[in-house]
C-alpha cells in the first residue's frame, strides 16, 4: 500500500498579473492558515500587450529557477478588455444570457447564484481568451485555475466604510483603469480610459453612474473616488469634479496574497478545492491513527496496571505480618524512648526539699524564714529578724547558690523588724540532709 503524503507537502500557487506594459508574477505557498508570497518578479512587456507569446516567453525565463512543481495551479489577473463584468439586480427575472454580447456557449462566467438576495456581479470572458491562457499555462507546465478581473485585485484595498458608489482609478496616468464598486464592495463596472478619453474622466464616471442608476442626473453626489497611485491625486485632482482620496500604499504582493486569501470568486477554470478535501481526509486519517494508537496504548497499559495491581496485592499480603511486627515494635520503641525523655524532663528539675534544706543550713538565728518558693532551679525566700546584705553574703559563700539578688520583701507580718527577701538560683553541687529542714523552718 502506498500512502499519499501530498496533502502535507507545501502546496503552491502562481498568480500572474497581466498589465498593459508589465507582468507581475508571484509564487505563493499555503501556510498553516493562509497563502504567503515567497517569490515575485516584475517583468516589462513589449508595447503590443496582446502578444501572449511574449508573455509566455518571459514567464518561462523568469520562473525557470523557481522549482515550481508540475501541474501547479495558476491564477491570472486580467484587464477589462479580457474579463468583463455584468451586474444583475436583486432577484432579477431577466434572462441572464441576454446580458452577454456573445452566445452563452462562447463564453465562460463566474458562478451564477439563482437564489442570491443581493446584487450579483458576474465576471465573464470569451472562450478564446480562456483557451489562450489555458494553453500558456499548459506550456509552462502549470494548470490554469482561475481568471480574476483587475477590479477584484483592488476591491480589498478599499476602505471599510463606503458610499453608494465608489470609483477607483489605477494604472498609468495616460491610460488609467476605472473601477466602480457598490456600497458592499462588489464590482459594478470596470473599464479602461483610452488615451483619447483620459482627460474626460468626469464624463465617463457620470455616464457609468447614470447607467447604473437608470436615470440621467446632472450631479453625482453619492460617489467617492479613490486611487492607490499618489500621482493621480496631484495630476488629476484639478481636472476632476470629485475629490480624490489616496488609498494607503499596498504592495502588489500584498494585493495578490489578499486576493488569494479572500472569498472573491473569479472565473473558475479548474476546481482547486480538491486539496482541501484531501487535507481533511488526510487529517482525519492522522487523527484516527493517533486516536486509535492512544486508545490501544491505554487499553494495553490498563491490562499491565491490572497485572501490577494483582502482583502488588499479593506482595502486600505476604509482607503484612512482618510489617505489623515491625510497626508494633517501632511504636513500642518510640513510646519507650518518649517515656525516658519524659522521665529525664521530670528529674531534671531538683526535688524541692533539697534546696530548702540547703537554704536553712545557711541561715543563722535570729533570722527566721517565713516564705520559701521553688520552681525549677529558681528560689525565692523572705523572712524577718535578718539583714538581707548579711544573708546574701552568707549565701554567696555556699557553692549551691548563685545569681543572688536582694528584692523588696512581701508584706508577711505586721512587724517590720529586719525584713529580708532574696531571689537566687540553686544548683545541686552539694548535698544537704533533709533532716535540717525540721530544725530551721519556722525558726
Amino acid at each position: 500500500m502506498r500512502l499519499n503524503f501530498n496533502p502535507f507537502i507545501r502546496e503552491q500557487h502562481i498568480v500572474v498579473f497581466l498589465g498593459d506594459l508589465n507582468l507581475h508574477v508571484a509564487q505563493l505557498y499555503r501556510g498553516l492558515f493562509e497563502w504567503k508570497v515567497i517569490r515575485d518578479v516584475e517583468l516589462a512587456l513589449s508595447d503590443s500587450s496582446q502578444d501572449l507569446s511574449d508573455v509566455e516567453n518571459r514567464l518561462v525565463n523568469a520562473t525557470s529557477t523557481w522549482n515550481i512543481p508540475n501541474k501547479t495551479f495558476v491564477s491570472w489577473i486580467l484587464s477589462p478588455d479580457i474579463i468583463g463584468v455584468v451586474n444583475i439586480p436583486t432577484q432579477s427575472k431577466l434572462d441572464i444570457t441576454r446580458l452577454f454580447p456573445f452566445d452563452s456557449k462562447d463564453i465562460k462566467s463566474s458562478e451564477i447564484h439563482k437564489e442570491f438576495m443581493d446584487n450579483q456581479t458576474i465576471f465573464w470572458s470569451h472562450r478564446d481568451w480562456i483557451n489562450e491562457f489555458e494553453k500558456i499555462s499548459q506550456q509552462l507546465g502549470w494548470v490554469c485555475a482561475e481568471l480574476f478581473s483587475r477590479a477584484q485585485l483592488f476591491q480589498l484595498a478599499l476602505p471599510k466604510k463606503l458610499r453608494k458608489y465608489n470609483a477607483l482609478l489605477e494604472g498609468s496616468i495616460l491610460e488609467p483603469y476605472l473601477h466602480i464598486y457598490s456600497a458592499t464592495g462588489s464590482v459594478l463596472r470596470t473599464t479602461k480610459c483610452s488615451r483619447e478619453h483620459r482627460n474626460d474622466i468626469n464624463r465617463i464616471i457620470k455616464i457609468e453612474i447614470d447607467s447604473l442608476r437608470g436615470t440621467v442626473e446632472s450631479e453625482v453626489n453619492d460617489l467617492s473616488l479613490y486611487t492607490p497611485n499618489s500621482s493621480f491625486t496631484e495630476h488629476q485632482q484639478s481636472q476632476l469634479d470629485f475629490k480624490v482620496e489616496a488609498l494607503p500604499s499596498i504592495s502588489m504582493n500584498n494585493l495578490i496574497a489578499n486576493l488569494l486569501r479572500s472569498n472573491s470568486e473569479g472565473i473558475e477554470i479548474r476546481s482547486t478545492y480538491d486539496s482541501i478535501i484531501k487535507r481533511i481526509n488526510a487529517l482525519t486519517l492522522v487523527v484516527a491513527v493517533i486516536g486509535i494508537g492512544l486508545l490501544g496504548g491505554m487499553v494495553w497499559h490498563d491490562e499491565r496496571l491490572k497485572q501490577d495491581l494483582e502482583l502488588s496485592r499479593s506482595q502486600m499480603r505476604k509482607e503484612t505480618p512482618i510489617f505489623l511486627t515491625a510497626q508494633s515494635l517501632r511504636l513500642e520503641v518510640l513510646n519507650m524512648s518518649k517515656a525516658l525523655d519524659i522521665k529525664q524532663e521530670i528529674v531534671r528539675e531538683p526535688s524541692s526539699f533539697k534546696p530548702l534544706a540547703d537554704v536553712l543550713s545557711v541561715l543563722n538565728p535570729p533570722a527566721t524564714l517565713l516564705f520559701y518558693a521553688q520552681s525549677g532551679d529558681s528560689l525565692k525566700i523572705s523572712g524577718i529578724h535578718g539583714d538581707a546584705t548579711h544573708i546574701k553574703s552568707l549565701l554567696e559563700k555556699n557553692s549551691h547558690f548563685y545569681n543572688i539578688v536582694i528584692t523588696s520583701p512581701p508584706e508577711l507580718k505586721k512587724e517590720r523588724n529586719g525584713e529580708f527577701s532574696l531571689d537566687f538560683i540553686w544548683r545541686s553541687s552539694g548535698i544537704s540532709s533533709p533532716k535540717d529542714i525540721t530544725q530551721e523552718v519556722g525558726k
Partner: protein, 196 residues
Amino acid sequence: MKRDWIRSYRQHGLKLLMIPVLVIILLLFGFNQYVGDYLTHRQETAELTLKIDRMRATSALLKEDERKKAKLMLNFSEIQSRSYRSPSPADSLDQMQAQLSTLLQTLYFENIKVTKLELKQENYVMALALNAQFSGVPQQLPRLEAALESDAKAMRINAVEVKVSDGSVGGGSQLEINARFVAMHLKPDEAKIRKP
C-alpha cells in the same frame, strides 16, 4: 483558502465533515469507555506502590528497632514499674490524686486539697501533674519526702511554696504548703514489653 472552502461546501455540503466528525465521535466514545477505569487503576497502582514502599521501609527497621529496644529496656523497666498504668491518662490522674490524698492524710497533714491539672492532650506515654495544698509543721516535710522516695509510683515534687501561717516564732510554726506533684502515665497495651 476561504474561496476553496466556500466552493467545496457548495459542492459537497456538510458531507465533507461527516467522516471527520464520525471518527472524532467514535474516538471520544472509545476513550469514554476506557478512560475512567484506566485512571482508577493508575491511581490504585500508585497508592499501592507507595503503601508497599512505606511497609518495606518500616520492615527494614525491624532489626535496628530490636537493638534499640534492648538498649532502652533496662531504664524503661524501672519507669514501667513505677508509672501509673491505665487505659487513659485521666484514669491514671484519678489514681494519683487518690494515692496522694491518702499519703498526705497518713502523714497527718491537715487542710489537704489536691487539684488535678488539666490534661492538654492524651498520649500513650505522658507526664501527669497535680497541685496539692496542705498544712503541717516543719517536722512532717522530711517524712513526706521519704514517703515519696519509697513509694511504688515515682511521684515527685518539682515546685513548692512554703509559707509560715501563724505569727509565732519557734519550733511549733504552722506551714502552709503549696506543691506540684508529677508522675508518669503509661497505657498498658502500648507499654507491653516483649522480649527483643
